[in-house]
């Protein structure tokens, strides 16, 4: 019995979003005859891939027991800066590298303040949330900048076979790679250990500051890639794109089973939670459910998921404390 429970417990965090994802897919098919269309379903992931990339970074940040509220502002600033550079005639490859580098740099700024100035990440990134978006607005004003035509429409580029869109493929590959990094490497185990108990980790000769810095850099890197991707998808950059996206990112991460207190994280869970949110959006949208009701249902699904998760984890962790897995 105990062995069974143990095996069940390892996967339980992922089981909840997986079960709900299946339910959402069934409900979607019942709600609208237009839902079960593989091409359409894959295409509609493109709207959520940028969120997904931020979720990858956020999973590490939250596993660490920290938060990055500035992720969406970082994305917006990268998308504005990149579009501006390309408009000025910078070579696309160079411009995109600078853009992604900028995202990473902005993440490092957060990381330095959190790790070395010893400030709470909530406050630091609350500040940079406003700061990064503010710089983007100062750079662009209310105007939008066009992205070069030839680089537009990444959501219309497909892998050979013509059915899997490139953004989804990028997301799957990155999620898999960083999922392995989180679960199977020393780095990942250290992130979880710090999240579970930072002081104990320090005494265990883990260089906590360095890990915190690299995790925030990773979050910035993801925002950088997502920013460039959004430029290509929308064809224009504006300072107010992706406003408020950070909330959706944090929601998906926590929904996936990553503990908001740190010390417990699963990339598979985050991945499934993102697909769950996308599936709920798409199925309700296709059924022409009114936006107000959509919000209510999505909110209910979130609360329900967390409640189920709470019932599951209550048995093992006995309350608030997170647990390293």
């Amino acid at each position: 019995m105990a062995a069974l429970q143990e095996r069940f417990a390892v996967k339980r965090a992922e089981l909840v979003p997986l079960g709900l994802l299946a339910a959402a897919m069934i409900a979607g098919g019942m709600l609208s005859p237009h839902f079960w269309d593989l091409r359409y379903l894959l295409d509609s992931t493109s709207l959520h891939v940028e969120t997904g990339l931020l979720v990858i970074g956020m999973t590490f940040v939250i596993a660490l027991g920290q938060i990055d509220l500035s992720a969406a502002s970082n994305l917006a600033l990268v998308s504005c800066a990149t579009a501006k550079l390309l408009q000025m005639g910078v070579h696309p490859a160079v411009g995109i590298c600078i853009g992604i580098g900028l995202g990473t740099m902005l993440g490092i700024v957060n990381g330095l303040l959190v790790a070395y100035a010893n400030l709470p990440s909530f406050l630091v990134t609350l500040g940079t949330l406003a700061l990064y978006r503010g710089i983007a607005q100062a750079l662009m004003g209310a105007a939008s900048v066009k992205f070069p035509e030839s680089l537009c429409g990444i959501d219309r580029w497909y892998l050979p076979g013509g059915i899997v869109p490139v953004p989804f493929a990028v997301f799957v590959v990155l999620a898999a790679a960083f999922g392995v990094a989180l679960a199977k490497t020393t780095f990942g185990r250290r992130v979880i250990a710090i999240g579970a108990n930072s002081t104990a980790s320090e005494y265990s000769a883990i260089k906590v500051n360095r890990i915190v810095l690299s995790v925030f850099a990773l979050s910035g890197l993801m925002a950088g890639i997502a920013g460039v991707m959004m430029d290509s998808r929308l064809g224009v950059a504006r300072y107010d794109h992706a406003r408020g996206l950070e909330l959706e990112v944090i929601t998906a991460t926590v929904l996936g089973g990553t503990s908001i207190y740190g010390g417990k994280a699963t990339m598979t869970g985050s991945f499934l939670a993102l697909l769950l949110m996308a599936a709920v959006h798409v199925s309700l949208g296709l059924a022409n459910v009114k936006t107000e009701i959509q919000l209510t249902i999505i909110g209910a699904v979130l609360v329900l998921t967390l409640a189920i998760g709470g019932v599951f984890s209550g048995a093992k962790a006995g309350g608030l404390a997170g647990r390293a897995e």
Binding site: L20, A23, L31, L234, D240, V282
Partner: protein, 344 residues
């Protein structure tokens, strides 16, 4: 321990049942919607939810769809954020609608998805706002009114209330609001015409679209110009503030007041007799025109092109201007007799 297992399983089963129940409830509605077979289906996407102005446009669409036997639905994003309409557009394309009418939240972020819609054979029409600089991504646009005639129309309305003579003043919004300045220029042009030559513009005040400042400016106009016969305020904040000032100073109807606003904001002042009449375009008429035009384009009866004239059932003759823009009509005047027909 086993208890926990059972509890959690119950949770999962309950949640699945809940979703299925919801799905079943909704499904009946969907089936009804789809039972119409070959009827044209029209969807209108406003900028955001909960805005009475867009409800009026929706009412116009509903009216025409009922008359012409089309299936109508409307769905709006919860925020007017630039990209919030993209998922909705994708969903409507997948649902296989025939006509998409949209009040766009962004002049350029929708280009790609609108192109998809048109490739799928959907007629795309913008309503109330257009895709400035990206007009090629929609079939036609229906806009509220000819804004170059707003100034003259307002002067005529005020003039008719004061016998076309006496001192008048303008209460505007901010000094550099482009639409306000264009309308004020139109008013000055009108005042140069012989018909309005006895009306004398004595001051232009700016209330910055703040209720308090607008009220102060309106009071200032009343005290500075004892012979003032009329005020025109082509901004809803200014007009409401000026009406309040007139009411408090008990200067009506000796000073006539008019301007631009919505019936909901002015209803009280019209009923109290403070404001005899004011103007705005009619969003419902705009919805009717947009819907009827889109249906005719879809049916191949109207082909958009600059200068092309056409006639629509129950609406009348119109023509395409530059960039296939169609103007709804002149400003509508709301007074004690008509204001209760409008709810925006």
């Amino acid at each position: 321990m086993p208890n926990r297992c059972i509890v959690s399983k119950v949770w999962v089963v309950l949640s699945l049942l809940g979703m299925l129940f919801f799905a079943a409830c909704e499904k009946r509605e969907t089936v009804q919607n789809n039972s119409s077979g070959s009827r044209l289906s029209v969807v209108y996407i406003p900028k955001n939810t909960g805005n009475p102005y867009f409800n009026e446009i929706v009412a116009g669409f509903e009216e025409v769809c009922k008359q012409q036997g089309c299936e109508f639905s409307t769905i709006a994003p919860s925020t007017a954020e630039a990209t919030s309409q993209i998922p909705i557009l994708k969903e409507q394309i997948q649902r296989g609608v025939n006509i998409i009418a949209i009040s766009p939240n962004s002049p350029d972020a929708l280009n790609a998805v609108l192109d998809d819609a048109r490739k799928a054979g959907i007629v795309v029409i913008t309503v109330d706002a257009d895709l400035a600089g990206n007009e090629a991504h929609r079939d036609a646009s229906v806009l509220p009114t000819d804004f170059s005639k707003v100034g003259e129309s307002q002067i005529e309305l005020l003039g008719s209330q004061i016998g076309y003579q006496g001192e008048i003043a303008i209460l505007s919004a901010t000094r550099d609001a482009p639409n306000q300045n264009a309308w004020i220029a139109g008013m000055k042009d009108a005042l140069a015409q012989p018909k309005y030559s006895k009306m004398k513009l004595v001051e232009i005040a700016y209330g910055d679209d703040e209720p308090q400042k607008s009220a102060t400016e309106a009071e200032g106009l009343l005290t500075k110009h004892p012979n003032l016969r009329g005020i025109v305020s082509p901004t809803s904040v200014g007009l409401a503030a000026a009406a309040q000032a007139l009411q408090i100073a008990n200067k009506y109807p000796s000073v006539a007041l008019t301007g631009l606003s919505t019936p909901n904001q002015m209803r009280k002042f019209v009923q109290d007799g403070v404001v005899k009449a004011f103007q705005l375009w009619s969003p419902r008429e705009m919805g009717r025109l947009a819907c009827s035009l889109a249906i005719s384009i879809k049916q191949g009866k109207v082909k958009p092109g600059e200068g092309v004239e056409f006639e629509l059932p129950e609406i009348g003759k119109r023509s395409f201007g530059k960039n296939n823009v169609v103007i709804t009509g002149p400003l509508v005047t709301f007074d004690q007799n008509t204001i209760n027909e409008y709810h925006f």
